[in-house]
Protein backbone atom coordinates (compact mmCIF):
# COMPACT_ATOMS: atom_id res chain seq x y z
CA UNK A 1 0.00 0.00 0.00
CA UNK A 2 2.79 2.34 1.02
CA UNK A 3 4.78 1.41 -2.10
CA UNK A 4 1.77 2.10 -4.29
CA UNK A 5 1.29 5.50 -2.71
CA UNK A 6 4.96 6.40 -3.21
CA UNK A 7 4.73 5.38 -6.89
CA UNK A 8 1.60 7.47 -7.30
CA UNK A 9 3.23 10.52 -5.70
CA UNK A 10 6.32 10.11 -7.88
CA UNK A 11 4.13 9.67 -10.94
CA UNK A 12 2.23 12.88 -10.22
CA UNK A 13 5.55 14.66 -9.65
CA UNK A 14 6.88 13.38 -12.97
CA UNK A 15 3.68 14.42 -14.73
CA UNK A 16 4.11 17.92 -13.28
CA UNK A 17 7.72 18.12 -14.47
CA UNK A 18 6.71 16.79 -17.88
CA UNK A 19 3.91 19.35 -18.13
CA UNK A 20 6.23 22.15 -17.00
CA UNK A 21 8.33 21.85 -20.16
CA UNK A 22 5.53 22.49 -22.70
CA UNK A 23 3.99 25.11 -20.38
CA UNK A 24 7.33 26.95 -20.16
CA UNK A 25 7.71 26.73 -23.97
CA UNK A 26 4.28 28.36 -24.41
CA UNK A 27 4.74 31.02 -21.72
CA UNK A 28 8.20 32.00 -23.01
CA UNK A 29 6.92 32.42 -26.56
CA UNK A 30 3.68 34.14 -25.62
CA UNK A 31 5.59 36.66 -23.46
CA UNK A 32 7.99 37.33 -26.33
CA UNK A 33 5.12 37.77 -28.79
CA UNK A 34 3.32 40.17 -26.42
CA UNK A 35 6.23 42.24 -25.09
CA UNK A 36 9.11 41.64 -27.54
CA UNK A 37 10.38 44.22 -29.99
CA UNK A 38 9.06 43.86 -33.54
CA UNK A 39 11.45 43.44 -36.47
CA UNK A 40 10.69 42.94 -40.16
CA UNK A 41 13.14 40.73 -42.04
CA UNK A 42 13.10 40.50 -45.83
CA UNK A 43 13.12 36.93 -46.99
CA UNK A 44 15.36 35.90 -49.86
CA UNK A 45 13.50 35.01 -53.06
CA UNK A 46 12.11 31.56 -52.41
CA UNK A 47 12.27 28.82 -54.95
CA UNK A 48 8.57 28.03 -55.24
CA UNK A 49 9.32 24.43 -56.17
CA UNK A 50 11.38 23.94 -53.02
CA UNK A 51 9.50 26.11 -50.55
CA UNK A 52 7.28 23.43 -49.07
CA UNK A 53 8.80 20.75 -46.93
CA UNK A 54 5.80 18.82 -45.76
CA UNK A 55 3.79 21.17 -43.62
CA UNK A 56 5.93 24.28 -43.47
CA UNK A 57 7.31 26.99 -45.73
CA UNK A 58 11.09 27.10 -45.66
CA UNK A 59 12.17 30.69 -45.02
CA UNK A 60 15.54 32.08 -45.99
CA UNK A 61 16.38 35.48 -44.53
CA UNK A 62 18.28 37.81 -46.86
CA UNK A 63 21.95 38.14 -45.91
CA UNK A 64 21.81 35.65 -43.07
CA UNK A 65 25.49 36.04 -42.26
CA UNK A 66 27.33 38.71 -40.32
CA UNK A 67 30.96 39.77 -39.86
CA UNK A 68 32.55 38.56 -36.63
CA UNK A 69 33.26 41.49 -34.39
CA UNK A 70 36.16 41.12 -31.99
CA UNK A 71 36.21 37.32 -32.06
CA UNK A 72 38.45 35.62 -34.59
CA UNK A 73 38.29 32.01 -33.40
CA UNK A 74 34.56 31.26 -33.43
CA UNK A 75 33.75 27.60 -33.66
CA UNK A 76 30.78 25.73 -35.09
CA UNK A 77 28.11 25.34 -32.41
CA UNK A 78 29.41 28.24 -30.30
CA UNK A 79 26.89 30.67 -28.79
CA UNK A 80 26.91 34.12 -30.39
CA UNK A 81 24.88 37.31 -30.22
CA UNK A 82 23.92 38.72 -33.59
CA UNK A 83 23.19 42.45 -33.61
CA UNK A 84 20.20 43.75 -35.59
CA UNK A 85 20.00 47.10 -37.38
CA UNK A 86 17.08 48.69 -39.19
CA UNK A 87 17.20 50.55 -42.52
CA UNK A 88 15.22 53.65 -43.54
CA UNK A 89 12.33 51.50 -44.82
CA UNK A 90 12.03 49.81 -41.46
CA UNK A 91 13.48 46.45 -42.51
CA UNK A 92 15.88 44.71 -40.19
CA UNK A 93 19.27 43.25 -41.10
CA UNK A 94 22.01 41.36 -39.28
CA UNK A 95 24.85 43.69 -38.48
CA UNK A 96 27.62 41.80 -36.68
CA UNK A 97 28.17 38.77 -34.47
CA UNK A 98 29.76 39.03 -31.03
CA UNK A 99 30.52 36.63 -28.21
CA UNK A 100 29.52 39.21 -25.60
CA UNK A 101 25.88 40.03 -25.00
CA UNK A 102 25.21 43.52 -26.35
CA UNK A 103 23.24 46.20 -24.55
CA UNK A 104 19.75 47.15 -25.68
CA UNK A 105 17.21 44.80 -27.22
CA UNK A 106 18.25 44.63 -30.89
CA UNK A 107 20.01 41.29 -30.97
CA UNK A 108 19.32 37.56 -31.19
CA UNK A 109 21.06 34.75 -29.34
CA UNK A 110 22.00 31.83 -31.58
CA UNK A 111 24.77 29.39 -32.51
CA UNK A 112 27.48 29.51 -35.16
CA UNK A 113 26.95 27.19 -38.13
CA UNK A 114 30.31 27.87 -39.78
CA UNK A 115 32.78 30.70 -40.33
CA UNK A 116 34.18 31.78 -43.69
CA UNK A 117 37.42 33.75 -43.73
CA UNK A 118 37.06 36.57 -46.21
CA UNK A 119 39.56 39.32 -47.11
CA UNK A 120 37.50 41.80 -45.08
CA UNK A 121 37.56 39.48 -42.04
CA UNK A 122 35.78 36.36 -40.78
CA UNK A 123 32.10 36.10 -41.75
CA UNK A 124 29.82 34.15 -39.41
CA UNK A 125 27.04 32.00 -40.79
CA UNK A 126 24.65 31.22 -37.97
CA UNK A 127 21.45 29.32 -37.24
CA UNK A 128 18.55 31.67 -37.91
CA UNK A 129 15.95 30.82 -35.25
CA UNK A 130 13.06 31.60 -37.61
CA UNK A 131 13.58 29.48 -40.70
CA UNK A 132 10.19 27.84 -41.06
CA UNK A 133 6.54 28.81 -41.09
CA UNK A 134 4.09 26.02 -40.35
CA UNK A 135 0.76 25.90 -42.13
CA UNK A 136 -2.29 23.75 -41.99
CA UNK A 137 -1.82 20.50 -43.83
CA UNK A 138 -4.93 21.14 -45.95
CA UNK A 139 -3.77 24.68 -46.84
CA UNK A 140 -0.38 23.51 -48.04
CA UNK A 141 -1.33 22.49 -51.62
CA UNK A 142 -3.26 25.77 -52.16
CA UNK A 143 -0.34 27.74 -50.70
CA UNK A 144 2.04 25.92 -52.97
CA UNK A 145 -0.04 26.87 -56.04
CA UNK A 146 -0.28 30.47 -54.86
CA UNK A 147 3.43 30.60 -54.22
CA UNK A 148 4.17 29.27 -57.68
CA UNK A 149 2.00 31.95 -59.29
CA UNK A 150 3.53 34.56 -57.06
CA UNK A 151 7.03 33.40 -57.88
CA UNK A 152 6.60 34.61 -61.47
CA UNK A 153 5.55 38.12 -60.44
CA UNK A 154 8.12 40.96 -60.45
CA UNK A 155 7.26 42.06 -56.88
CA UNK A 156 8.04 38.64 -55.39
CA UNK A 157 10.96 40.05 -53.44
CA UNK A 158 8.67 41.94 -51.06
CA UNK A 159 8.06 38.83 -49.01
CA UNK A 160 9.06 39.33 -45.39
CA UNK A 161 8.56 37.95 -41.91
CA UNK A 162 7.75 39.77 -38.70
CA UNK A 163 9.69 38.58 -35.70
CA UNK A 164 9.35 39.49 -32.03
CA UNK A 165 12.61 39.59 -30.05
CA UNK A 166 13.03 39.73 -26.29
CA UNK A 167 16.36 39.24 -24.47
CA UNK A 168 17.85 37.70 -27.59
CA UNK A 169 15.03 35.18 -27.93
CA UNK A 170 13.23 35.42 -31.28
CA UNK A 171 9.73 34.19 -32.15
CA UNK A 172 8.34 34.30 -35.68
CA UNK A 173 5.05 36.13 -35.76
CA UNK A 174 3.85 36.18 -39.35
CA UNK A 175 4.96 35.59 -42.94
CA UNK A 176 3.86 38.29 -45.37
CA UNK A 177 3.66 37.73 -49.11
CA UNK A 178 2.59 40.53 -51.46
CA UNK A 179 1.97 42.78 -48.47
CA UNK A 180 -0.47 40.50 -46.67
CA UNK A 181 -0.21 37.51 -44.34
CA UNK A 182 0.35 34.29 -46.29
CA UNK A 183 -2.92 32.76 -45.07
CA UNK A 184 -4.90 35.64 -46.56
CA UNK A 185 -2.73 35.66 -49.65
CA UNK A 186 -3.43 31.97 -50.18
CA UNK A 187 -7.15 32.48 -49.55
CA UNK A 188 -7.39 35.33 -52.06
CA UNK A 189 -5.25 33.57 -54.64
CA UNK A 190 -7.49 30.54 -54.26
CA UNK A 191 -10.57 32.72 -54.85
CA UNK A 192 -9.13 34.55 -57.88
CA UNK A 193 -7.85 31.36 -59.50
CA UNK A 194 -10.97 29.41 -58.57
Amino acid sequence: MRYKRTVLVLFVLLALIQSAVPVWMIVHRETTLKTGRLFKFRTAPVDPYDAFRGRYVAITIENSAAPADGASDLKSGQKVYVHITEDSEGFAAFDKATVRRPEGDAYIRTRVSFVVNEPSGPKVYFEVPFDRYYMEETAAPAAEDAYRQYGSLPERSDAYVTVRVKDGFAVLEELYVGGQPIREFVRESGRSSG
Partner: protein, 342 residues
Protein backbone atom coordinates in the same frame (compact mmCIF):
# COMPACT_ATOMS: atom_id res chain seq x y z
CA UNK B 1 -1.07 0.90 -14.00
CA UNK B 2 -2.52 -0.19 -17.27
CA UNK B 3 -0.44 -0.58 -20.39
CA UNK B 4 -2.42 2.13 -22.12
CA UNK B 5 -1.49 4.74 -19.53
CA UNK B 6 2.19 3.85 -19.94
CA UNK B 7 1.90 4.06 -23.69
CA UNK B 8 0.03 7.37 -23.73
CA UNK B 9 2.30 8.97 -21.13
CA UNK B 10 5.37 8.04 -23.17
CA UNK B 11 4.00 9.69 -26.29
CA UNK B 12 2.12 12.60 -24.71
CA UNK B 13 5.23 14.67 -24.04
CA UNK B 14 6.48 14.26 -27.62
CA UNK B 15 3.08 15.05 -29.07
CA UNK B 16 2.66 18.21 -26.99
CA UNK B 17 6.16 19.50 -27.79
CA UNK B 18 5.56 18.79 -31.51
CA UNK B 19 2.26 20.70 -31.38
CA UNK B 20 3.92 23.69 -29.71
CA UNK B 21 6.78 23.58 -32.24
CA UNK B 22 4.29 23.93 -35.08
CA UNK B 23 2.14 26.56 -33.37
CA UNK B 24 5.12 28.85 -32.72
CA UNK B 25 7.05 27.98 -35.91
CA UNK B 26 10.02 26.70 -33.91
CA UNK B 27 13.02 26.16 -36.17
CA UNK B 28 15.71 23.52 -36.16
CA UNK B 29 15.96 19.94 -37.30
CA UNK B 30 14.10 18.64 -34.28
CA UNK B 31 17.20 17.59 -32.38
CA UNK B 32 16.61 19.62 -29.23
CA UNK B 33 12.96 18.56 -29.35
CA UNK B 34 13.93 14.90 -29.53
CA UNK B 35 16.45 15.18 -26.71
CA UNK B 36 13.99 17.02 -24.45
CA UNK B 37 11.35 14.38 -25.11
CA UNK B 38 13.75 11.52 -24.41
CA UNK B 39 15.07 12.99 -21.16
CA UNK B 40 11.54 13.63 -19.96
CA UNK B 41 10.40 10.11 -20.75
CA UNK B 42 13.28 8.19 -19.16
CA UNK B 43 11.94 8.43 -15.56
CA UNK B 44 8.80 6.64 -16.80
CA UNK B 45 10.90 3.54 -17.49
CA UNK B 46 11.79 3.20 -13.82
CA UNK B 47 8.61 4.52 -12.32
CA UNK B 48 6.33 2.23 -14.28
CA UNK B 49 8.82 -0.57 -14.95
CA UNK B 50 7.77 -0.21 -18.55
CA UNK B 51 9.49 -1.49 -21.67
CA UNK B 52 7.77 0.71 -24.29
CA UNK B 53 9.28 3.97 -22.95
CA UNK B 54 12.64 2.17 -22.71
CA UNK B 55 12.49 1.07 -26.37
CA UNK B 56 11.32 4.53 -27.36
CA UNK B 57 14.18 6.06 -25.40
CA UNK B 58 16.83 3.89 -27.06
CA UNK B 59 15.40 4.57 -30.53
CA UNK B 60 15.18 8.29 -29.71
CA UNK B 61 18.72 8.75 -28.40
CA UNK B 62 20.08 6.75 -31.35
CA UNK B 63 18.21 8.96 -33.83
CA UNK B 64 19.38 12.06 -31.94
CA UNK B 65 23.03 11.07 -31.76
CA UNK B 66 23.37 9.64 -35.26
CA UNK B 67 20.68 11.29 -37.35
CA UNK B 68 20.37 14.85 -35.99
CA UNK B 69 23.40 16.93 -36.86
CA UNK B 70 27.01 16.30 -35.99
CA UNK B 71 28.81 16.29 -32.67
CA UNK B 72 26.13 14.31 -30.82
CA UNK B 73 27.51 10.78 -31.08
CA UNK B 74 29.75 11.09 -28.05
CA UNK B 75 26.79 12.06 -25.82
CA UNK B 76 25.01 8.84 -26.73
CA UNK B 77 27.08 6.97 -24.17
CA UNK B 78 26.11 8.88 -21.01
CA UNK B 79 22.52 8.95 -22.29
CA UNK B 80 22.57 5.19 -22.91
CA UNK B 81 23.99 4.65 -19.42
CA UNK B 82 20.69 5.97 -18.03
CA UNK B 83 18.89 2.89 -19.33
CA UNK B 84 21.43 0.30 -18.11
CA UNK B 85 19.87 -0.12 -14.61
CA UNK B 86 16.62 -1.10 -16.36
CA UNK B 87 18.53 -3.95 -18.04
CA UNK B 88 19.97 -5.07 -14.73
CA UNK B 89 16.52 -5.06 -13.09
CA UNK B 90 14.98 -7.07 -15.94
CA UNK B 91 17.95 -9.46 -16.05
CA UNK B 92 17.70 -10.18 -12.34
CA UNK B 93 14.01 -10.97 -12.68
CA UNK B 94 14.40 -13.29 -15.66
CA UNK B 95 17.31 -13.49 -18.05
CA UNK B 96 15.19 -15.11 -20.74
CA UNK B 97 12.06 -12.97 -20.61
CA UNK B 98 10.73 -11.69 -23.92
CA UNK B 99 10.89 -8.10 -22.63
CA UNK B 100 14.61 -8.36 -21.98
CA UNK B 101 15.28 -10.08 -25.30
CA UNK B 102 13.44 -7.42 -27.34
CA UNK B 103 15.19 -4.67 -25.37
CA UNK B 104 18.58 -6.37 -25.84
CA UNK B 105 18.08 -6.61 -29.61
CA UNK B 106 17.17 -2.94 -29.93
CA UNK B 107 19.97 -1.85 -27.61
CA UNK B 108 22.60 -4.02 -29.32
CA UNK B 109 21.71 -2.72 -32.78
CA UNK B 110 21.61 0.88 -31.55
CA UNK B 111 24.95 0.41 -29.79
CA UNK B 112 26.57 -1.04 -32.94
CA UNK B 113 25.36 1.86 -35.10
CA UNK B 114 26.60 4.46 -32.63
CA UNK B 115 30.06 2.90 -32.24
CA UNK B 116 30.76 3.77 -35.90
CA UNK B 117 29.35 7.29 -35.53
CA UNK B 118 31.43 7.91 -32.40
CA UNK B 119 34.63 6.70 -34.05
CA UNK B 120 33.91 8.92 -37.06
CA UNK B 121 33.35 11.97 -34.86
CA UNK B 122 35.89 11.44 -32.10
CA UNK B 123 38.78 10.01 -34.08
CA UNK B 124 38.30 11.47 -37.55
CA UNK B 125 41.78 10.54 -38.71
CA UNK B 126 41.49 6.92 -37.73
CA UNK B 127 38.36 5.89 -39.61
CA UNK B 128 40.27 2.99 -41.17
CA UNK B 129 40.78 1.53 -37.70
CA UNK B 130 37.02 1.07 -37.64
CA UNK B 131 37.42 -2.57 -38.75
CA UNK B 132 39.58 -3.27 -35.72
CA UNK B 133 37.22 -1.41 -33.40
CA UNK B 134 34.13 -3.15 -34.77
CA UNK B 135 35.79 -6.58 -34.67
CA UNK B 136 36.50 -5.93 -30.99
CA UNK B 137 32.95 -4.78 -30.26
CA UNK B 138 31.44 -7.79 -32.03
CA UNK B 139 33.81 -10.21 -30.32
CA UNK B 140 32.95 -8.75 -26.90
CA UNK B 141 29.25 -9.10 -27.73
CA UNK B 142 29.76 -12.64 -29.00
CA UNK B 143 31.94 -13.91 -26.17
CA UNK B 144 30.15 -11.95 -23.47
CA UNK B 145 26.81 -13.20 -24.77
CA UNK B 146 28.13 -16.78 -24.82
CA UNK B 147 29.11 -16.48 -21.17
CA UNK B 148 25.76 -14.97 -20.24
CA UNK B 149 23.51 -17.41 -22.09
CA UNK B 150 25.05 -20.75 -21.35
CA UNK B 151 21.92 -22.76 -22.06
CA UNK B 152 21.18 -23.91 -25.60
CA UNK B 153 18.84 -21.24 -26.98
CA UNK B 154 17.76 -20.22 -30.48
CA UNK B 155 19.45 -17.30 -32.26
CA UNK B 156 16.54 -14.98 -31.45
CA UNK B 157 16.97 -15.61 -27.72
CA UNK B 158 20.67 -14.68 -27.81
CA UNK B 159 20.85 -11.18 -29.33
CA UNK B 160 24.45 -10.50 -28.25
CA UNK B 161 25.72 -13.78 -29.69
CA UNK B 162 23.69 -13.41 -32.90
CA UNK B 163 24.72 -9.80 -33.59
CA UNK B 164 28.33 -10.66 -32.65
CA UNK B 165 28.41 -13.65 -35.01
CA UNK B 166 26.89 -11.70 -37.91
CA UNK B 167 29.20 -8.72 -37.25
CA UNK B 168 32.43 -10.73 -37.02
CA UNK B 169 31.51 -12.62 -40.18
CA UNK B 170 30.86 -9.40 -42.08
CA UNK B 171 34.02 -7.63 -40.88
CA UNK B 172 36.29 -10.58 -41.65
CA UNK B 173 34.59 -11.07 -45.02
CA UNK B 174 35.24 -7.40 -45.89
CA UNK B 175 38.90 -7.82 -44.93
CA UNK B 176 39.29 -10.72 -47.37
CA UNK B 177 39.03 -8.06 -50.09
CA UNK B 178 42.35 -6.55 -51.12
CA UNK B 179 40.73 -3.19 -51.91
CA UNK B 180 39.71 -2.72 -48.27
CA UNK B 181 43.35 -3.05 -47.21
CA UNK B 182 44.36 -0.57 -49.90
CA UNK B 183 41.79 1.90 -48.57
CA UNK B 184 43.15 1.45 -45.02
CA UNK B 185 46.44 2.86 -46.26
CA UNK B 186 44.86 5.66 -48.22
CA UNK B 187 41.83 6.97 -46.44
CA UNK B 188 42.09 9.04 -43.29
CA UNK B 189 44.38 6.92 -41.18
CA UNK B 190 47.69 7.01 -43.03
CA UNK B 191 49.17 3.78 -41.84
CA UNK B 192 52.68 4.58 -43.09
CA UNK B 193 52.90 7.88 -41.27
CA UNK B 194 55.04 8.08 -38.15
CA UNK B 195 52.88 7.87 -35.05
CA UNK B 196 50.12 5.88 -36.76
CA UNK B 197 51.44 2.71 -35.15
CA UNK B 198 51.05 4.31 -31.70
CA UNK B 199 47.34 4.90 -32.26
CA UNK B 200 46.98 1.34 -33.48
CA UNK B 201 48.68 0.05 -30.34
CA UNK B 202 46.72 2.39 -28.06
CA UNK B 203 43.43 1.11 -29.43
CA UNK B 204 44.44 -2.44 -30.29
CA UNK B 205 46.21 -3.58 -27.12
CA UNK B 206 43.27 -2.98 -24.71
CA UNK B 207 40.98 -4.69 -27.21
CA UNK B 208 43.32 -7.66 -27.44
CA UNK B 209 43.52 -7.91 -23.65
CA UNK B 210 39.74 -7.83 -23.19
CA UNK B 211 39.31 -10.43 -25.92
CA UNK B 212 41.93 -12.66 -24.28
CA UNK B 213 40.16 -12.49 -20.92
CA UNK B 214 36.79 -13.35 -22.47
CA UNK B 215 38.34 -16.17 -24.52
CA UNK B 216 39.94 -17.60 -21.38
CA UNK B 217 36.61 -17.42 -19.54
CA UNK B 218 34.90 -19.23 -22.43
CA UNK B 219 37.51 -22.01 -22.45
CA UNK B 220 37.17 -22.42 -18.68
CA UNK B 221 33.43 -22.80 -19.02
CA UNK B 222 33.77 -25.52 -21.67
CA UNK B 223 32.94 -23.24 -24.56
CA UNK B 224 36.12 -23.83 -26.55
CA UNK B 225 34.00 -23.97 -29.71
CA UNK B 226 33.60 -20.20 -29.45
CA UNK B 227 37.33 -19.55 -29.76
CA UNK B 228 37.66 -19.54 -33.55
CA UNK B 229 35.09 -16.76 -34.03
CA UNK B 230 36.00 -14.95 -30.81
CA UNK B 231 39.65 -14.72 -31.78
CA UNK B 232 38.73 -12.40 -34.71
CA UNK B 233 39.96 -9.11 -33.13
CA UNK B 234 43.35 -10.75 -32.51
CA UNK B 235 43.52 -11.74 -36.19
CA UNK B 236 42.43 -8.23 -37.26
CA UNK B 237 44.98 -6.66 -34.91
CA UNK B 238 47.63 -9.04 -36.29
CA UNK B 239 46.65 -8.08 -39.83
CA UNK B 240 46.89 -4.36 -39.04
CA UNK B 241 50.27 -4.81 -37.29
CA UNK B 242 51.60 -6.85 -40.19
CA UNK B 243 50.36 -4.28 -42.66
CA UNK B 244 51.86 -1.39 -40.65
CA UNK B 245 55.19 -3.23 -40.48
CA UNK B 246 55.12 -3.96 -44.22
CA UNK B 247 54.32 -0.39 -45.26
CA UNK B 248 56.38 1.43 -42.63
CA UNK B 249 58.53 3.87 -44.53
CA UNK B 250 57.06 2.75 -47.86
CA UNK B 251 55.87 5.23 -50.45
CA UNK B 252 52.14 5.58 -51.00
CA UNK B 253 52.50 4.04 -54.45
CA UNK B 254 53.95 0.87 -52.88
CA UNK B 255 51.00 0.34 -50.53
CA UNK B 256 48.81 -1.72 -52.90
CA UNK B 257 51.66 -4.25 -53.33
CA UNK B 258 51.90 -4.71 -49.57
CA UNK B 259 48.24 -5.55 -49.11
CA UNK B 260 48.64 -9.11 -50.41
CA UNK B 261 49.86 -10.71 -47.18
CA UNK B 262 47.05 -9.41 -44.89
CA UNK B 263 44.51 -10.24 -47.63
CA UNK B 264 45.78 -13.82 -47.84
CA UNK B 265 45.71 -14.07 -44.03
CA UNK B 266 42.03 -13.08 -43.95
CA UNK B 267 41.09 -15.37 -46.81
CA UNK B 268 42.64 -18.25 -44.88
CA UNK B 269 40.87 -17.20 -41.65
CA UNK B 270 37.49 -16.85 -43.35
CA UNK B 271 37.98 -20.19 -45.14
CA UNK B 272 38.76 -21.85 -41.80
CA UNK B 273 35.61 -20.27 -40.32
CA UNK B 274 33.52 -21.69 -43.17
CA UNK B 275 35.04 -25.17 -42.95
CA UNK B 276 34.76 -25.23 -39.15
CA UNK B 277 31.09 -24.19 -39.24
CA UNK B 278 30.29 -26.79 -41.90
CA UNK B 279 32.13 -29.60 -40.07
CA UNK B 280 30.58 -28.76 -36.69
CA UNK B 281 27.17 -28.73 -38.40
CA UNK B 282 27.78 -32.14 -39.93
CA UNK B 283 28.98 -33.54 -36.58
CA UNK B 284 26.01 -32.24 -34.67
CA UNK B 285 23.61 -33.10 -37.52
CA UNK B 286 22.32 -29.50 -37.76
CA UNK B 287 21.36 -28.72 -41.31
CA UNK B 288 21.09 -24.96 -40.66
CA UNK B 289 24.70 -24.79 -39.39
CA UNK B 290 25.95 -26.86 -42.33
CA UNK B 291 24.23 -24.50 -44.76
CA UNK B 292 25.58 -21.44 -42.93
CA UNK B 293 29.12 -22.85 -43.19
CA UNK B 294 28.69 -23.69 -46.84
CA UNK B 295 27.21 -20.25 -47.44
CA UNK B 296 30.40 -18.69 -46.00
CA UNK B 297 32.58 -20.86 -48.22
CA UNK B 298 30.46 -20.16 -51.30
CA UNK B 299 30.52 -16.40 -50.58
CA UNK B 300 34.31 -16.47 -50.28
CA UNK B 301 34.79 -18.50 -53.45
CA UNK B 302 32.37 -16.38 -55.46
CA UNK B 303 33.80 -13.09 -54.17
CA UNK B 304 37.34 -14.12 -55.12
CA UNK B 305 36.21 -15.29 -58.56
CA UNK B 306 34.37 -12.03 -59.13
CA UNK B 307 37.46 -10.04 -58.03
CA UNK B 308 39.68 -11.75 -60.58
CA UNK B 309 39.22 -11.19 -64.28
CA UNK B 310 37.78 -14.62 -65.04
CA UNK B 311 35.45 -14.95 -68.04
CA UNK B 312 31.68 -14.89 -67.80
CA UNK B 313 31.20 -18.55 -68.82
CA UNK B 314 33.61 -19.88 -66.21
CA UNK B 315 31.95 -17.71 -63.53
CA UNK B 316 28.58 -19.13 -64.53
CA UNK B 317 29.88 -22.71 -64.38
CA UNK B 318 31.35 -22.08 -60.89
CA UNK B 319 28.01 -20.64 -59.78
CA UNK B 320 26.25 -23.81 -60.94
CA UNK B 321 28.85 -26.09 -59.29
CA UNK B 322 28.45 -24.24 -55.97
CA UNK B 323 24.66 -24.61 -56.26
CA UNK B 324 24.94 -28.34 -56.99
CA UNK B 325 27.28 -28.66 -53.98
CA UNK B 326 24.66 -27.06 -51.74
CA UNK B 327 21.87 -29.30 -53.00
CA UNK B 328 23.91 -32.52 -52.79
CA UNK B 329 25.10 -31.86 -49.24
CA UNK B 330 21.58 -31.08 -48.11
CA UNK B 331 20.22 -34.23 -49.76
CA UNK B 332 22.93 -36.44 -48.23
CA UNK B 333 22.41 -34.96 -44.78
CA UNK B 334 18.64 -35.31 -44.98
CA UNK B 335 18.97 -38.99 -45.97
CA UNK B 336 21.40 -39.61 -43.12
CA UNK B 337 19.01 -37.95 -40.72
CA UNK B 338 16.18 -40.18 -41.90
CA UNK B 339 18.32 -43.32 -41.66
CA UNK B 340 19.24 -42.39 -38.10
CA UNK B 341 15.61 -41.78 -37.28
CA UNK B 342 14.67 -45.21 -38.62
Amino acid sequence: MSKWIRFITAFAVGASIALISQTYHISGGGDSFLLTWMLLSVPLVYLMRANVPALLYIAGITAWSVGCGSGHAFYYWPLAALIVPHFVILGRENLFSNRLIVLSWVFTLSFCVTVGATVRESLPFSWSLVYLIYSGVFAVLYLGGSLLYTKGQGWWRQPFVSVGTAGITMITFLLTNQRIWESIGWFGYRINEPGAGNLLLALGLPLVMVTFCLLAACVRRNQAGRVLLGVAPLVVFGGYMLFTYLVSGAKETDIPGNTIIPTVLFNLYFFTLGVNTTVSGIRSGRLGTVNAGMFLLAALILARFFDSGIGFVIRGVIFIIVGIGFLTTNLVLLRRGRERAV
